[in-house]
Amino acid sequence: MDRFETVYRQHFASVLRLAVSVVGRRDVAEDLTAEAFLELHKHFERIRTDELPAWLFVVVRNRARDFWRREKVRDRHARWVASRPEPSAPPPAGPMWLRSDRLSPVQRVCLELHYAWGYTTEEAAERLGLTAGQVKGHLQRARQLLRDLDKEKAG
């Protein structure tokens, strides 16, 4: 294992976690993380070990700002703020099956993205850092759990 790979494995998780926390979407976060390490690779001989992972965090934050600017994320947010209804009129809580404690967070999220928001399995997968097959698997298991739950209640 070369020195760069050692450094990569040492800091990958924290860099990706920061990227996810800043941009939300896992696919974009992975792009930012790859870009940060690519940048590190270019300047590897000049960067001191004690400058890491702060140096990588700076790259991620800068690229994330570029992403927000380029994709006009702020404009989308502003449109939502302008168009949202008064907080005094809450939407209904939703079907019980979306809030079942029997389901795991990832199963609930897959159900909601796919069925409520109409995302394809591929779109949901990108946002969650999963493959489309994994999303389909979560949906299938969630449906099975809901059927079991329904039988328990009926019986």
Binding site: W80, P87, W117, R127, L149
Partner: protein, 287 residues
Amino acid sequence: MSGVDRRLDEVPEEVLRDEAARWQRSRAGCPDPDLLSVYESELLEGDVRVALAEHLRVCPACASLSADLAALRREAPDALTETAVLERVRRGISPPSWWRAPLAAALLIGCGAAVWWIARGPAASGPPAQAVAPAAAPAPAGPIALWRIEALPVRIPLSSVGVTRSAGANDVSAALVDALGPYQAGRYADAIPALRELAAVHPDMADASLYLGVSCLLANRPQEALAPLERARQRADRPRLASIDWYLAAAEQRSGQTSASRDRLRTLCAAPGEYQQRACSAERTLR
């Protein structure tokens, strides 16, 4: 659970869809999951954060989804992701998957069509078919994009490689095959000069312009991709238009022409076909 839920055993998919659709209609004012997923982002604007916090206080559904999304964000990445990202770094720069897949497919189909054309023409002209089409070319190098529309595989229908089946058609086909050599190896920038020359000499050859445009796009020169793709669009057969529009939309988006890109994606989204779903998805991302 409700009576509707009791039907899960019979038609779970339809029940879930119906229930979700009815519920969703009542949630027109809810933030979409992309916005919820940046609730904790340090880049989030103060007024949006306040508005989100207000909404989460009164909307249990969004509060629940937001908490689930936050739980997923905190999960440690798996070894597979770690290795996959390292591999991208090691390759230098790699294109995002939503470009890589179409290009691999385009290459495959394009070269297949070239081989077919040459094989049907006079035997003496053109390079041997086996020199043209390695079926399993490695994923080519290209720019990392910060933004992806989607990762769905697509294909570019390539109706023909030559201009016409005239006497010079095979020479033209051979020239295109030669010009596609660097492209096949993933050296898009190197492919541009020969493709540009070919497109200039044979302006009616839609494929030369198309590959020139796509090469520019993957060489991270999206503005240069616009003119050849437009030219390809004017000359291509009808079945090819959707593919060209898909690449044009990407070139426009990457050139900062978001509005034009969105219009093109809307048109693709409205037309039934293989690009409909991904175009709708891309258009939604641009909104």
